[in-house]
């Protein structure tokens, strides 16, 4: 299968996985492996200076996975740019999943602040993967300022509702000249497969894997679904019709 290419870097996997909400670092590491992920998102937070024992990410083999720091928690462009620069200083990585979510209830991304931050970060040499609402015009505006992908949401983060934005996602996919990564809200492997069948270049999943009863098995299920959906897209799906169309011959029936 042809590789996913983001900012001239090739990947065999089209499933990006988030590292939040896992019960333990060991379960996370096993789940990432089962999912076949190559790009994994991470967040940047204050060190807990009263109780300093967070070692979650020590379980990630950095020679194997590309860490994609996010700017979660940013409420405006300025905060997002600050987080991206801190993440760069912490990791040496200049890739960033740009998230600006001022609304704590639905965590919907702010399009204006996202575009502002993207413009600055691209100029500063960052590879920017912006998390956005499924807005085709915003997608084009972000491409114009030089983002490496667009990452439209399927439904609100962590909601597991699936493809609520399908009609807009179709337009984004049709118009995009950068990879489209459907991010947020994919709750089941079938949702991921559906996004891939539509022609999405990749999907990003966190909650649906991390909070499953068996995250490792669910990671594998998402991997298979993404591969199936991609293969189906490349196979040229047959058209849907309103009426039946017999699959068996309509001659030679055993009747007079």
């Amino acid at each position: 299968m042809e590789r996913l290419v983001i900012a001239e870097k090739g990947f065999d996997s089209r499933l990006l996985v988030g590292t939040g909400k896992f019960a333990s670092p060991e379960v996370m590491a096993e789940s990432l492996e089962a999912a076949g992920a190559e790009i994994v998102t991470v967040a940047l937070r204050r060190v807990d200076i009263e109780n300093e024992n967070d070692d979650t990410l020590a379980a990630i083999d950095r020679s194997r996975y590309l860490l994609l720091p996010n700017t979660s928690g940013a409420r405006d462009a300025e905060e997002a740019i600050r987080l991206a620069k801190l993440a760069h200083a912490a990791t040496g990585i200049n890739w960033v999943k740009l998230e600006v979510t001022p609304d704590p209830y639905y965590l919907l991304p702010d399009p204006i602040e996202t575009l502002k931050a993207a413009e600055v970060l691209v100029k500063d040499g960052f590879v920017v993967l912006p998390y956005i609402n499924a807005d085709p015009i915003l997608s084009k505006r972000l491409e114009d300022v030089g983002t490496a992908t667009v990452m439209p949401l399927a439904s609100p983060i962590g909601s597991n509702q699936g493809l609520k934005t399908r009609a807009s996602l179709e337009i984004i996919i049709e118009q995009a000249t950068v990879p489209v990564v459907v991010d947020a809200g994919l709750g089941l492997p079938s949702h991921a497969a559906e996004a891939m069948e539509m022609g999405a270049d990749a999907v990003l999943v966190n909650t649906a894997i991390a909070t499953a009863a068996d995250p490792v098995a669910m990671g594998e299920a998402f991997k298979l679904a993404v591969e199936a959906g991609r293969t189906a897209f490349l196979s040229g799906p047959a058209a849907a019709k309103r009426k039946a169309s017999a699959s068996s011959p309509l001659t030679g029936f055993l009747r007079d």
Partner: protein, 70 residues
């Protein structure tokens, strides 16, 4: 009394006993420097500069690190 504001918390030290550098502060707090990045009064300090970056009373320090996230 010397005061450093660390991650939003005011830490008080007897005069002359506050950690002198970012490295000293991490040691004092028992924080492993791996994957940690610091900001002193809004300026990012790279890990390799921790030992050379002097702190003085009244400064605001942010210590951040990567953790699990989506």
């Amino acid at each position: 009394m010397d005061v450093l504001k660390v991650n939003g918390v005011e830490k008080q030290f007897a005069e002359g006993e506050a950690p002198g550098t970012v490295s000293d502060l991490l040691d004092h707090l028992g924080v492993n420097a791996a994957m940690v990045v610091a900001e002193v009064d809004g300026r990012i300090v790279q890990r390799e500069e921790f030992g050379r970056t002097k702190l003085s009373t009244g400064q605001t320090i942010e210590l951040v690190r990567l953790m699990g996230g989506g």
